[in-house]
């Protein structure tokens, strides 16, 4: 188990390094562009003379060769210094941290909504495959998977806010502001996960040891809860990890639809205003969180699946 975790952590460090190179290279691909943006921010114009441009480029380190620039930048990032926003002039790290609560709230609410609907519904379907509720839920989940979250969000606003006047249209704040966004973000995840819980449980229920448990006279309830479910939930867990990808992507869109001041919305703002340091910071920050949560998922595997705990790495190879 220890070697497994060590391997995961090494991979994590490597991935983060790779992402930092990738992020930095993207910005590096624009020679002169950074200096021009700095000029606009400082003086409000960018028609600098060649000499002024050269001075500015030297000042912000843009004339150095790639490896040196990268090392300089990485050193600063390691100390938590992500630079300053072109638009507000405030530290990028502070800008991001100010937006974290709104995003975290949304992501956690959506995740729990998805998990708490998917597991019971999936079990219900798997217990009676082909029943009317199984057919109904499977059709519903097909719709849920194909539903674009930006459209779902707009429709929900239209119905619950504009027509029925039950919930606020946009903004962040209390619980009432969270209901529609969390549902919008969680619905797709719930749909995918329900299908997965069902498929995975059906597969486990068809195995010999379940037949054995039934043969020796255990009740259906005990077979399900004590024997089948634990094994069926391992692949579900994997997919909840994979869903993280959709969760992050969905956050960006849902925050935009509902006007929540979160990290995703910050990223869209940074792109719209060509605020490169801010954009770079957000990308790194999100990659960091993404990798961190993935590691947590891997660690929790070792508790769920003894096969990993005792050597046989079943990870991502």
């Amino acid at each position: 188990m220890f070697t497994y975790l060590l391997r995961r952590i090494c991979l994590l460090v490597f991935v983060l390094w790779g992402v930092s190179v990738l992020t930095f290279t993207l910005m590096y691909l624009l020679p002169g562009e950074r200096a021009r943006l700095v000029a606009i921010y400082r003086w409000g114009y960018d028609d600098l003379s060649a000499k002024e441009l050269a001075t500015l480029r030297r000042e912000i380190g843009e004339d150095l060769p790639f490896p040196q620039q990268y090392a300089w930048w990485l050193g600063r990032v390691a100390r938590g210094d992500l630079g300053y926003s072109f638009v507000t002039g405030r530290p990028v790290a502070a800008e991001i941290l100010a937006r974290v609560p709104a995003t975290l709230e949304l992501a956690v609410a959506a995740f729990f909504f998805a998990a708490l609907t998917a597991v019971p519904l999936g079990i219900a379907c798997a217990r009676r495959p082909g029943s009317w509720w199984d057919n109904l839920l499977m059709t519903g989940s097909l719709i849920g998977v194909a539903m674009p979250n930006f459209w779902l969000g707009l429709l929900l606003i239209l119905i619950f806010s504009l027509t029925l006047d039950l919930l606020p249209v946009a903004g962040s704040g209390g619980l009432a502001h969270l209901v529609l966004p969390a549902f919008t973000l969680g619905a797709g995840m719930a749909a995918v996960s329900t299908r997965l819980v069902r498929a995975s449980l059906l597969e486990v229920l068809a195995q010999d040891y379940i037949t054995m448990a039934r043969t020796k006279g255990l009740g259906e309830g005990e077979v399900l809860w004590r024997h089948a479910l634990r094994n069926a939930l391992i692949p579900v867990f994997t997919v909840l990890g994979l869903q993280l990808n959709h969760l992050v992507g969905g956050t960006v869109i849902v925050e935009n639809v509902f006007g929540r001041a979160g990290v995703g919305q910050l990223m869209v703002e940074a792109i719209a205003s060509r605020d490169l340091p801010l954009l770079q910071g957000v990308v790194l920050f999100l990659a960091f969180c993404f990798a961190g949560v993935n590691l947590l998922v891997d660690i929790s595997y070792t508790f769920l699946d003894p096969r990993i705990r005792y050597g046989g790495a079943k990870g991502n190879e």
Binding site: L155, V252, M267, L276, L279, V283
Partner: protein
Amino acid sequence: MSETVITPHVSFHRGELWSAITRDRAAFAGGILVILLVFVALFAPWLAPHDPVRQDLARALLPPGGEYPLGTDEMGRCLLSRVLFGARISLAVGFFVGGLAAILGMFIGLVAGYYGGLLDEVLMRLTDIFMGLPNIVFVLAVVGVLGPGLKHTVLALVVMGWVPFARLVRGSVLSLKEREFVQAARALGFSHWRIMVRHILPHALGPVVVLATLHIPHAILAVAGLSFLGLGVQPPTPEWGAMLNAARSSMRTYPLQMVAPGLMVFLTVLAFNLVGNGLRDALDPRRRSRFTF
């Protein structure tokens, strides 16, 4: 959407596959829907009653009916025509990104799995890095640096898209290259290229087709989402996501405007998902019976 749910290299006979698909009514319906959408995209100029970009402010925000079956938008453009033309961009992007990502990833995975060693190690660590970044974050980063627009969005989607294909194909190749028929081909002195393309690739192709089919709606959703954020396709080009974004401003006064574009995205994604799921079930005998996922 995820590589984990596809079992590699199940070989099939063409007739068997066809009968499995026609028996699967959901996949069949999805297929018909896809054909209809392709038809709409190809013949949009003949099907559309008006020019999709011509503005006429005197006829802005007309309700549905009469000359404009779905009404007009805030610029007085015919909504039906715009929705029909919107199929062109979405389907073109879907097929292009899905196809190119599949071909790129297939060859990278083939080479990595076949040659192994350092090359394999480098390529696979590269996939680790790409998978360490949430897709949309990478796409947004590229668009943020290069500037908004369809071209940059598609570029980012392709650069990101090959990864799952490469991992999938590499996995299949690793087990296929130990099989007798590959050893026989090697003993016959065939070139590496010929063994890879003619002998190994056909056996690894099935899951790739499934993944590619499921990758198409993924790309369509990404482009529509980015256009919705105002970072993808730019107005006045008719595109569903961008149309929804424009519809937001007149949401209180004219909510009907956002029904059609959203419905089209939904139907398109649903159609490709149905076909993809059907193909996967047809290729995997284990799932063919009652375990429909």
